[in-house]
Each structure stands twice: as C-alpha cells, then as structure tokens.
Amino acid sequence: MRILLIDDEKELVTTLSERLDLRDITNDWATSGEQGLQRVRERNYDWVVIDLKMPGLSGLETIKAIKREQPLARIILLTGHSSGDELNEAIRLGADKYLVKPVDIDVLLAYMQGNPS
C-alpha cells in the first residue's frame, strides 16, 4: 500500500508520515495541491489523504486533477469543519470518505484496510 499525504500544514504531514514509516507503510507527502499533483504524476498511489482548504490549488481542484491522472487512486479528505456543500462536492468528484481532524491513525488505517470502525 502506498499513501500520499497532502496538507499545507507541514508539521501534520511530516509527523503522520513518520508514524506511517514506523508501521512500514510506504508514503510520500506534499504541502500543496500543486506539489501533490506532481507526486501523482511521478508514481501511483493506492490512497491519497488530502486537506480540503489549502492555498493555491484547492483540495477540490486537486481531487479533480488527481482523479484525471489516477482514476483508481482512492481519496480520503482530512478536514477541520467544512460546509456540507464542499464535502458533497468532494464526494461527487470522487473522494471516498471524509474524516474530521484530529484523526486517529488507527481509524484512518482501518478504513484503508477495509475494516472501518
């Protein structure tokens, strides 16, 4: 399983990445939609975990572009509090699930491994 983490909060993605490393889960991270899209163009991911509100390319725009590049990549939104409209739009664009921050890493991984709590 290869995971891409995208969030403009660098300390969040780098720490989550380190925790995934400890579990021997292959992962990369990016701090903007543009950087995330670049990663997606370089290699395939099973899962993309992405923040909705980011400067530059927004979470919604990034999801749309990722789905164009890698239709099979599955997407989980990590969000603070967002409006229902934005979350519905993200699901319409192909996101599988949204989780509200702060997220328990075991809940995140359980969902990815097909055992959602």
């Binding site: 927004s58 603070g80 509090h81």
Partner: protein, 206 residues
C-alpha cells in the same frame, strides 16, 4: 436597518469568524494529536528495547508546547471577539478592532493567495459604535478586498483621522472594484464607502 437583515448579517459574520477560528484550532489539535501519537509510539519502541534518539523526543515535546501556545492564542482571540458583543459596550477602539478582525481573516486571505498587513493605525482612534458592528464592516471590507485584489499580493490596512472623520483604508492592487459592507450596515454605522483601483476606504464620523 430592519431587525431581520441586521440579525442575518450579524449571524453570518459571527458564524464566519467562529468557523475560521475553530478551523485554526482544529488544525493545531490535529498537529498535537500526531506529535503526541508519535511520542507515544517512540516511547513504546524504547520500552521494547529499540534505540530511540532522546533529542527527537525532546524536539517533538517542544513542538507540542509551541502548538498548544498557538491554539491558546486563537482561543483568547475568539474570547475577545465574543466579549466585544457585550451589551454594555458602545465604544470601539479602531486599532484593536481592526487588528482582531485582520487576525481572524488571515487564514482565509492565505487560502486566496493573499497576505494581510497592518499599517499605521493611531492607538487613540475611537468610534461611538458597538465594536461588533464595526468589526462586521471591517470583515466585509476584507472580504471585498480579498476578492478583488491581485492574487499573490498584499492588502495593507491603515487608519487615520482625516478632517474630523475616521478613515480605514484597505490598499492593494485591485483587478476589479472592491465591494464592502451592505448599504444597510453602512447606514447603521453612519459611514460611507469609496473605492478605486488601489484603495477601498471606509469613512465614518469619530
């Protein structure tokens, strides 16, 4: 201003401020959650005999303390905002109110690719209006300025006393005419709004 419009405008403003602030707090909590989770996992590894660099733990704990401090700043700001709606408050300190609203709007401006800069603002400037009404007008000006300003640039906010009036200026390179508060809110505050390609100006009696 009829009460329904006033209520809807104030509710939307308070909601937007609260949403922005709680989003910031959520982000801080999310980082603290990951960092404390990592600390716990590293300590578990150490307990199992794996070598863990103590300086890594020290650095993570320091960052948790920093992030708690940052969350606390947002909570204090939100509390100040909540109390600016106290019914016995009918005077506004311009510099304090503008600075407060600018801090709340910074995250939204950043998402739009803009920075907000506080420029010159005399400490003693005051207005005979409830703070939250004035803050609502400043928020609307910031929203209008952020919508109209050239992306990647800055909006500079200044205030000055000019000919017995208080002027709050939102300066930027505007690609379209920036909008401000509703006519009803302008009337309630007894102020007028002017705009050109470089400035959005809120002008009101002191």
């Amino acid at each position: 201003m009829d009460w329904k419009s006033a209520y809807k405008g104030m509710a939307a403003f308070s909601g937007a401020v609260t949403a922005s602030a709680t989003h910031e707090i959520k982000n801080e909590l999310a980082v603290i959650n990951e960092q404390s989770g990592l600390i716990k996992e590293l300590l578990m590894l150490a307990a199992q005999g794996r070598e863990v660099d103590p300086s890594r733990l020290e650095s993570l704990i320091s960052r948790v303390i920093v992030r708690i401090g940052q969350a606390d700043v947002v909570i204090k700001r939100l509390n100040t905002f909540a109390h600016s709606g106290d019914l016995d408050r009918d005077l506004t300190n311009v510099a304090d109110s503008v600075a407060l609203v600018v801090e709340f709007y910074k995250r939204l401006a950043s998402i739009k690719g803009l920075t907000l800069e506080l420029g010159q603002m005399p400490e003693a400037l005051g207005l005979a209006h409830p703070p939250m009404l004035f803050q609502q007008a400043v928020w609307a000006c910031l929203a209008g300025a952020a919508e109209a300003a050239e992306k990647g640039g800055a909006v500079v906010i200044t205030a000055a006393a000019v000919n017995g009036q208080t002027e709050i200026k939102f300066s930027a390179n505007y690609t379209q005419t920036p909008q401000g508060p509703s006519q009803e809110l302008l009337e309630a505050l007894g102020c007028r709004l002017t705009a050109d390609s470089g400035n959005l100006i809120l002008c009101m009696a002191e």
